[in-house]
Symmetry: D2
Subunit: 348 residues, 4 copies
């Protein structure tokens, strides 16, 4: 089959590789119908993720069709149309039994396109298929569904649920890239009073408005803290979601949150940040971090299916499998291309 | 009356000052029967708390007897024996109505011995008396009760409740000073599997054992992370409580916590800490900070009254009011004197 | 002044009575600008509420203007436009300090138009004014605001919050009278997958659709359990809200709920119901009852103000004060008049 | 092998039957070392559980040694000493993924000794072995461990966790049989202020004191409501746990609970109860029912292992396997024999 193979920092190609095979009784082989690219794939390509070694097929998001299942698989069958979750769950360890699949101790967690071959390929092997694949209703099309592999559960669980958004809240999202936009849409599920997006790029602030932000702030033009204080009687925001992954944006979040409020970190960080405990120790702040568990996937699927949650709107560009390298090119230059998420399909 | 007056950094004396008077309809005047000294009083004396100005009577902990009440006070009367809470609550603002008295927007919060005259005096004026004083049952003596002004609710609310201690947990307390010891005792209320105390002072580790720690670690002799990992199958602690207030101890806490665990900061910090988001972003950690609200005071009073919670055991030294300066001396040199909390009483 | 006075079962009149006066330091006198009638007022008139004695002015809902305040009142002043909450809160007792104002032990709770004179009058005395009145923003008009006295917080707190509605849930509301309709609108704040209304009156099912129900069931035409089972893969509803107050409707709720689901009782009951523990004991069901606390009033006011929550739409008929008896007539015959809530204003 | 076989109402015998065999890839065969008898077994023998058909081997509690495992089992191996949970979990369905194993939709739930052959036998087949067996540390002996099959998790989850016991609470347990005693011990984990046991049998009240009740009430001698009101300033109990299973005891629970309190039903009911909504609708009561999930088993195992929770103390009588019928005799006549739980061991 064909697959997008990582050949070391800066190196990738669309190669002919052997088809995957069932290795364990709990495996399934899925024919990939639609996949996409994540910012994490770009991190791997930069060499930021040393445990991903050359030769690895990338990608952890897909919608596909089950080709074959191991003898212990009971919840999906060949020909089922399924969502591939970015997180695999052994279903047996302590953390899986608490729904904390991202921290799976039994060989799961984020492994696809990271520790084992991934979804940017014609076929992919999915370990622990019973607890890592989700049958899809016909009413949810591939482009809407594939956003449920990673971006929507991540923003919902790590951003909105960890941040404990409640009706009437002032919610600030720092960073209006794809994850930040998904957090805006997910926060709206809880009827906040205001959703504020902060980003220096005008095009992203426009997108933020379309995904549900009612206030947008360009931090190069005005001080976000002044604006949030003016909106909240000088208290600060109830919930602040970090969706960038830099020390500066994290520290901004801790300046914007009100006493008793939440800072939910979603961004992937490569460097430490400064935590201003000399002012925060007394302010009753809760800070959370997290990898997505995808425990919310069934709920989110119901919401997308019921039209309660925007999903397909993230797709700005479409490609066929053999245009995989073009898709990377467009996604990697989002500032110029305006790409949010790209859809890469077996059949365009 | 006589009172301990702050005269600027490094300066204090036991002075004759005017008696306090009712200023607002909701005030009470309390005759102080027993008071104590807090580490925060030492911070003020060092000059670390600029909003506390010379001439201020210090102290925010007391048991006393109501002398007089303003016309709007309904829940306490003259001659009632009461606990003075370290936090005053207007009872009307948004935060008071959520039980978050420490963040009171209506003139309360931590004001005693900070923004208004405090309890290290023969008499003290208590604003918002209905929501800041607690009638005491005769079964709880002064020394047990005065620990409920600050140290016990702080360790319970900001440490144990924020840290979400549950039965069977491995709970680590970093710092075995008075607040850390109180956190050990408070954590025991939830039947953790292990309570681990970390402190470089052997005498404090001995005290930790007496207050309920079953494992003690001197970080100068062994690596706490190695020990905690050995105890927890390399997962880390469920809950880590910071009870020191330095960057190093805070960062240690974030190294000891398991995926999905809680770091509850209780320590008063004067400097920022480094938050290692490059490793923590993916670990599902919850970090909390907070000032005590004293919303748990009625519960804690029931527990002390029922003998469920150690309280009087914190008192290591006893003084009469006119030995106030000696009491400060002993408390300020805890390393040599072994002082935990001192009791300073009208009548010894 | 003029007021609607209860003269014993079946007896009421619009009488000239003495103006109310400040009785306690914490009282306020409010000039009523807009009031309304509640089903509970009809219960009192039927003689179902024996503690309400002849001579009592009825009514517990109003928007008005502060005329005078006692010396201990600090959060409202004369000329402030305010919402009168149906529940008064002493602000000092155990339950008020937990935000459970409906159970106030200090003389509050539901007292207006019940144990003391109420709001269907030109003026009303409000005890504990600081914790029982809410200043209104100019952007919320009287008819929208007066729904926040009782009906909206009741449906939100006792129905939706107690029922723990979450995104994607199937929520069933049994009874589509005013409280049921308010529960439909309030449930929508949490983005349920489906909101199902059950009522035998076609006009109410039409109203239910307008307030946000996507499925309506007339129980005289189809078995609600069959329909809910068909919608939920035979599991049952996640949340069922009882908004009628009869044994039959309550028992229906317990048949419709899924294992692990919630039945939230909002209805006012005059008779016991049968609880089928022989089938429910094993089904992990949570059943809640409650009187409104109005602790959510500030949140709901923000939501109404931000246009997130329908409020004024409940008003179907409008009257001037001197048409009070006509208003009762229309409201008491809702089946014929189609009345949901009536607005009764000083100036029409 | 030998096994206790149900032959229809009132009929049982200790029979020679075929050994169990692996039927599915996820099965294990466990050699039973210690088992016990549950009140539910007596219900089956009375004919109260029609889905249990003649020929069924009874029993759902055991400690044993793994003999063989199917090819898909990964977390236990032959010769592992294991706890058999009374609830089996498929680990894949919606409810299992929420930790609600008692409601398993994938073929689990309470099946042992109910829908499939159980543990009162020399060997037992355990479906879904990876998620239904728990390896035992050597420090927990068989008699302590076998109480973790059912009685301790049931009282902890369905009684104490559902009842939301908190420090300082007044907790009432109605019924001091084995489950009620286990609830007393489990409630103590959260440091309640008082644990009150209500039972008409003096011997059970004595046992209640030994398991941790500090107040005992014989309802034939004094009115429990009077006593609880006297203890709680006429408020009622914070948490009331029903551990009998009759309409009268359930209704007593609803009379004893305070506004805002919890009634947690643990008892197995055969008849409906009357729910006095005419008084309860306004009292903010939460009523829960439930089948045990055994999701707390790992936590409880840690607590028993750490000596934090009494377990072996339930065993009052000991038998060898071939005395199985004697064991039933003693257990079925607990009033005369004083039996709490019996231990039935391969080797006495």
């Amino acid at each position: 089959m064909k697959a997008l193979v990582f050949h070391g920092p800066g190196q990738k190609s669309w190669d002919e590789v052997p088809d995957p095979r069932i290795q364990a009784d709990t495996d399934a082989i899925v024919r990939v119908d639609t996949t996409t690219i994540c910012g994490t794939d770009l991190h791997i390509l930069k060499g930021d993720v040393p445990e991903t070694t050359p030769g690895r097929i990338l990608g952890h998001e897909a919608v596909g069709t089950v080709e074959a299942v191991g003898p212990a698989v009971t919840t999906v069958r060949p020909d089922d149309r399924v969502l591939v979750s970015c997180v695999s769950a052994c279903g047996r360890c302590r953390f899986c039994r608490e729904g904390r699949y991202g921290q799976c101790l039994g060989g799961g967690g984020w492994i696809l396109g990271h520790l084992i071959d991934g979804t940017q390929a014609e076929y992919v092997r999915i370990p622990f298929a019973d607890t890592s694949l989700y049958p899809l209703p016909a009413t949810v099309d591939d482009e809407a569904a594939v956003m449920l592999s990673d971006i929507i559960p991540t923003s919902y669980e790590v951003g909105v649920m960890n941040g404990a958004v409640r009706p009437g809240d002032t919610v600030v999202i720092v960073g209006a890239g794809p994850i930040g936009l998904a957090a805006i849409a997910a926060a709206r599920l809880f009827s906040p009073g205001h959703v504020v997006a902060i980003d220096p790029a005008a095009s992203r602030l426009d997108a933020a408005k379309q995904f549900g932000a009612d206030v947008v702030i360009d931090p190069s033009r005005e001080d976000p803290a002044d604006r949030i204080n003016a909106m909240t009687g000088d208290l600060g925001a109830d919930v602040v979601i970090e969706a960038v992954g830099t020390p500066d944006t994290f520290e901004l979040c801790t300046r914007l949150v009100r006493p008793g409020g939440h800072v939910a970190n979603v961004g992937v960080h490569g460097k430490p940040a400064t935590l201003h405990l000399e002012s925060l120790w007394i302010r009753d702040v809760t800070i959370t971090t997290g990898l997505v568990d995808t425990c919310s996937t069934p709920t989110l699927l119901r919401l997308v299916s019921a039209g309660q949650l925007t999903s397909a709107a993230f797709v700005t560009h479409r490609f066929a499998f053999d245009q995989m390298l073009d898709a990377y090119d467009v996604f990697a230059h989002a500032a110029e291309t305006g790409a949010l998420k790209v859809s890469i399909r077996r059949q365009l």
